[in-house]
Every structure is written in C-alpha cells, then in structure tokens.
C-alpha cells in the first residue's frame, strides 16, 4: 500500500511525514520546501506501508514544476492523507474537494490545531467529518499531538466520490462547508504579528532586512572563524598531528604512499593546509575549515526558514529581482546556494517559468559562493585583511547583478509575477532546528568527504606523473596573461571543478599576493560549479541549458578575472 501526504504548501506535510515515518525530512516555514518527493515507510497494523511526502499544491491543476510532481504522484497512491491548515480552512478545502472528486480514499489531518484557539477559530470536527464524508483528525505535527489518532484512522479512509464540480461550484461547496463547521471570533494583534507587518512594509522592512542579512553574515564569519580557531584547528594539531607524524615515520618519510596519505612534509613537519595528503589536508579542509562554516550557515538559515522570514525577504526584493529576470521568490534557491548549489538548483523548481529557472540556476552557478567556496575565501583571503574579503564578495555581487541584467535583456520572454503566501511568523522549536541542521550537515559530509578525499588522491597521483606541469605550461598564457596568476594556479582551478574547497590546499602553497588571492578566489568561484552541481544542473534543466550556462560562465570569468588583474 502507498500513502500520499498531500496538501497546500506550508501546511506541515514534511513535519507530519517525519512524525509518522520516523524519517527525517527538511521542514521550514515557507511554501515550497519540498520540491521532489521523499519516501519513507511506516507500520500500519502488521503491514509495512510506503509513505510519500508530496510537494505542496493549491490545486490539482499545476502551475509550477513542483506542483506538477504533486499532480502526477496522485495517480500512484492508494490512500491520501490530506493535510489541511486548520487556520485557513477555506482555501485548503478546495484541494480536499478536488481530491475527493478524483475518487481516491482520503483521510483529513486538520493540522496546526494548536494555532486555532489563539487565532479565534473554532472548528466543529464532527460536523466537518460528516460534511466531507471522510475521517477528520486534528493534529499538531511539530509536537506530535494527534498523530497516533490520525494513523489509527487511516484504514477508515473513504472515497465518497462526489460528482465532478466546476471551479465555481467547488468554491461554493467549500463556502457551504465552512459556514457550517467553522466559527471565527475577533482577537487582538500579538507582538509577533506586529513584527510580521513591520518586516513586510518597505519603510521598516528594508532596514530590518539589511540588519538581518548583515547580522547573519557577521555571525557566520565570526562564529565559523571562532570554531576553527578555538576548536577544530587545535584538535587537529594536538590530536591528529602526532598520529600522522607516526604514520609518516612508519612510511619512511617519503615515497608514493607517504605522499598520498600524509602528503609532502614541509620543513620536516605536516602543514595541514598545504601538505595535500588524503589523511592530512583532505580531512583537515573538510572537518576543520569547511564544517564550521557549514554548521553555522545552516543554523542561521534554518532559523530564518523556520521563523518564516524568507518569503518576506522575497517580497522586499521582488522589484529588484524583476530587473534581473527573476521574481522575489528566487531569493530562496539563491540563499540555499550559499550553502550548497545542489539543493539550491533543485529548489529552483518552485519557480514557474523555464526562463526564470535558467537565469536563477546560472546565477547560482556563477556568482553565488557555496559554503565550501566561502570557506576558501575566508581561509585564503581573510588572512590578508577584511577589505580583501569585502572585495571578493563585492565583485561576486556585482557579477550577480550584471549577469542577471544581461540575461534578462538577452533572453526572450519576461519574468513571471510573484504570487506567494506569506506565512505567519512562528517561533522555531529547538528540536526542529537541530534536526534540520543534522540532516543538512550529515548530507553535506556524506557527499563531500568521498569527493574531496578522492580528489586529493587523484591530485597526488597526477603530481607524481607530472601531468600538471604539462597542463600548467599549456594554459600559462591564459592564467598568467589574463588573470596574472602563476601558471601553477591552473591546477587549483581545474581541481576546483571537483570541489572548491580543495583549492585552499592548492593555492595556499603558491605564496600569492593579496591581489592574486582575490583574483584566484573570484575566478575559482565563478569558473565551473563543482562536479555535483554540474550533474544536478544537467538533470534539472537539461544538457543544452548547461552548455549555455557554461559558455556564459567562461566568458564572465575571463572578463571579470582580466579586469580584476588590471585593477588590482
């Protein structure tokens, strides 16, 4: 048996999914968190059944890629748990009626039940049940309240199959149901609602947005650096270095396997950022340098998501984003891109038009540094001084703006209008925030670690074969002539294709000047996304679009790198 969880966006499908399957799914407070479908399973009686978390949709006539996924999934389900936002019954019931008309057995979960009383909403569940003709259970997915009762009622799922209605008839039917089953009372504005309005009004919202983004940036850099300086770096030096030195001695201090595993010794000792051994630099970059930034970045992002801030940011930025060929909601995949391009490219599915998806995906690949690239920027350029970090980020932001402007002007078509629901602010739960952080950090390590270790392994082999010298000589005119970098830097650029963070270990030993480091970081960030992002781009938008994006990428990188070389 297969159970589908369906409902409007942002009603808590993923939270309910996590509850009933015990599988962790990413939960946030905005429409479109789930863009693909997540599978899990649960025990129902003695039977093991499949449960699918379907992306949210307002109706079964899809308007975006994510909603299309939802409509298609319906054909493959045996039972639908229709999750309904109890605080917004009217709009949610439209989809409920559509589902019933399709003839699938339905159980309704009246979610966010805890929110109804302080909003002055009373719902007569027994009445609603008899009007709809299917079981209705009240739930609070984030706390787990009512979940057991809901699961117990799944076998009662029924399909009264009303005659198909026209849209107007369906809305009229919804109207009839809510007049009978729901009563609304007046209530006072809470402080959360005042803050809600303040962050949406341009006059107060823009200062709030600037403050929120600046605070996030400084928190990420400050906390990330703090963790490195006081925790991860000392741990590596005090605990791991002796182990590695012993290994180095055991391997005889040099030779192929020594260089692959431990790397080259500098002045007789290991330099974690330069030695380039799989077990030294490989582990150090991932755990000591990148992981701290990943942790704090996803913590901050998770808080913003769970509070419900991102849709407000989307509204404030909409008019600017329009000039770049996107609408405000594109800020969500773009912000995810500051963590990792892979989920960001998948999140572009929440956008309606192909044109917009292409523009957003291209900008994410070119101009938005992922956490690994940011770790590289902070690690390499940060040591030279604040102003250089500012230059790198400033240049990337300018590239984002200008490339967006050009793409908007040169690609046929127009950017679609924004139409989104602004969720109420919710106080995030500690458990929810930590669970999501864990899912994302674990996902990152699982993906990144094998690639970075593999890449360093390949690099050491290629080094010993002298392949890099040949490539470096061949590309010297471009790299030295245009970018003003030593020809050895090309190796970092090429390896950056596998993962950006490895470049830390490759640029660090070259002894570059501050200006060269700035150029190196900008070029590395802009030039080719890493191999994982590359594959996802092709999967999501097609190979032709990927080729187009790559042409744009190469041209932009050469222009920007060349200009920086002239200026710096």
């Amino acid at each position: 048996m297969r159970i589908l969880l369906m409902g409007n966006p942002n009603v808590g499908k993923s939270a309910l999914f996590s509850r009933i399957t015990g599988t962790n799914a990413v939960v946030s407070n905005y429409a479109g968190t789930t863009v693909g479908f997540t599978r899990g399973s649960m025990k129902l009686g003695n039977e093991e059944v499949e449960v699918i978390d379907v992306p949210g949709t307002y109706s079964l006539e899809p308007t975006s890629k994510a909603e299309e996924v939802a409509a298609k999934m319906l054909l493959e389900g045996d039972v639908v748990i229709n999750i309904v936002d109890a605080t917004n019954l009217e709009r949610n019931l439209y989809l409920t009626l559509e589902l019933l008309e399709k003839g699938v057995p339905v159980v309704v979960a009246l979610n966010m039940w805890d929110d109804t009383s302080h909003r002055g909403i009373t719902i007569d569940i027994a009445k609603l049940e008899s009007l709809l003709g299917v079981p209705v259970a009240s739930t609070v997915a984030v706390s787990g309240q009512g979940i057991k009762e809901l699961v117990e009622r799944i076998p009662e799922a029924r399909s009264p199959k009303p005659a198909p209605r026209t849209k107007a008839e369906r809305w009229a039917a919804v109207g009839g149901i809510i007049t009978e089953a729901q009563t609304l009372a007046h209530r006072h504005h809470t402080w959360l609602e005042r803050l809600q309005d303040a962050s949406l009004q341009p006059r107060t919202g823009i200062p709030i947005a600037i403050f929120a983004l600046a605070a996030s940036f400084f928190a990420i850099r400050g906390v990330g650096e703090g963790i490195i300086q006081y925790i991860t770096d000392p741990l590596f030096h005090k605990l791991w270095e002796p182990v590695m030195m012993r290994l180095s001695d055991a391997l005889g201090g040099s030779g192929f396997w020594h260089d692959v595993l431990v790397g080259r010794l500098l002045d007789g000792s290991i330099d974690f950022s330069k030695s380039m051994g799989v077990l030294t630099t490989g582990l150090y970059i991932e755990f000591a340098i990148v992981l701290p930034y990943i942790l704090i970045f996803y913590l901050v992002l998770g808080l913003m998501e769970d509070i419900g801030y991102l849709p407000r940011l989307a509204v404030l930025l909409d008019s600017i984003m329009h000039r770049l060929g996107m609408h405000g909601y594109a800020i969500i995949p773009s912000m995810l891109g500051m963590g990792c391009a892979v989920p960001a490219l998948m999140a572009t599915r929440i956008l309606e038009s192909k044109r917009e998806r292409f523009i957003v995906a291209t900008l994410i690949s070119i101009a938005i540094p992922c956490a690994a690239a940011q770790a590289m920027i902070f690690g390499l350029v940060g040591a030279e001084g604040w102003q250089y970090v500012a230059i790198v980020f400033g240049v990337l932001f300018a590239v984002w703006l200008v490339t967006g402007l050009i793409l908007n002007l040169s690609i046929k078509g127009f950017s679609p209008e924004l139409l989104i629901e602004i969720p109420p602010y919710r106080l995030p739960s500690l458990r929810g925030v930590l669970t999501k952080l864990w899912i994302r950090v674990w996902g990152f390590l699982k993906e990144a670690l094998p690639i970075i270790m593999g890449a360093i392994f390949v690099v050491s082999i290629l080094y010993s074969l002298g392949v890099f010298d040949a490539i470096a000589n061949f590309t010297a005119p471009l790299v030295s002539g245009i970018f003003g970098l030593p020809k050895e830097a090309v190796v970092a650029i090429i390896i950056g294709f596998m993962r950006k963070d490895i470049a830390i270990g490759m640029l660090a030993p070259l002894g570059l000047s501050a200006g060269q480091l700035v150029i190196g970081c900008v070029v590395l960030t802009m030039f080719f996304p890493c191999v994982a992002a590359f594959v996802v781009f092709a999967k999501e938008l097609g190979f032709k679009k990927l080729l187009a994006a790559m042409v744009i990428m190469i041209i932009a990188t050469i222009i920007v790198g060349g200009l920086l070389n002239l200026v710096l």
Partner: protein, 80 residues
Amino acid sequence: MTEKKKISICELRQGQSARVVEILGGHGIAERLNSMGIRPGKDITKVSTSFMRGPVTVSVDRCQIAIGHGMAQKVMVEVI
C-alpha cells in the same frame, strides 16, 4: 459611499478593505489567484504598501498573499 468605483488593489491605501469584483487578464492568472483564495466576491485588506513597483500584499481569510505588481494591477476591487 453610494457610488462604488472599480479600482485595482494597487490603488488601495494601506489598511483599506475592499471586495474583489473582477480579475482582468488571462485565464492562467485568474486560476492561480483563485486557488490562493482571491476571487470575485472575496473581501480583502491591503496589508502593505509597495515601492518601486514591488508586490502588493493583501490579507484574505486571515492569510497574507503577496501579489506581484503587474498581476496586482489586474485585481479589480470595490472599496467597502
């Protein structure tokens, strides 16, 4: 008010309430607005002002919807 004038929600003042009377423009736009609860006969309140042709946010059924400026110009209402 005796005479009721049809205006778009862009022209509403912040905090003003109105009843949706018509959604101009294509089927697609009406459809999408419809599924989010904005359709003729519904009462809405404008929540936020927009600037630089930014989106208009309205509340309908205790839920806030942000509508891009171009689309908002097509949502015609009567002040109530």
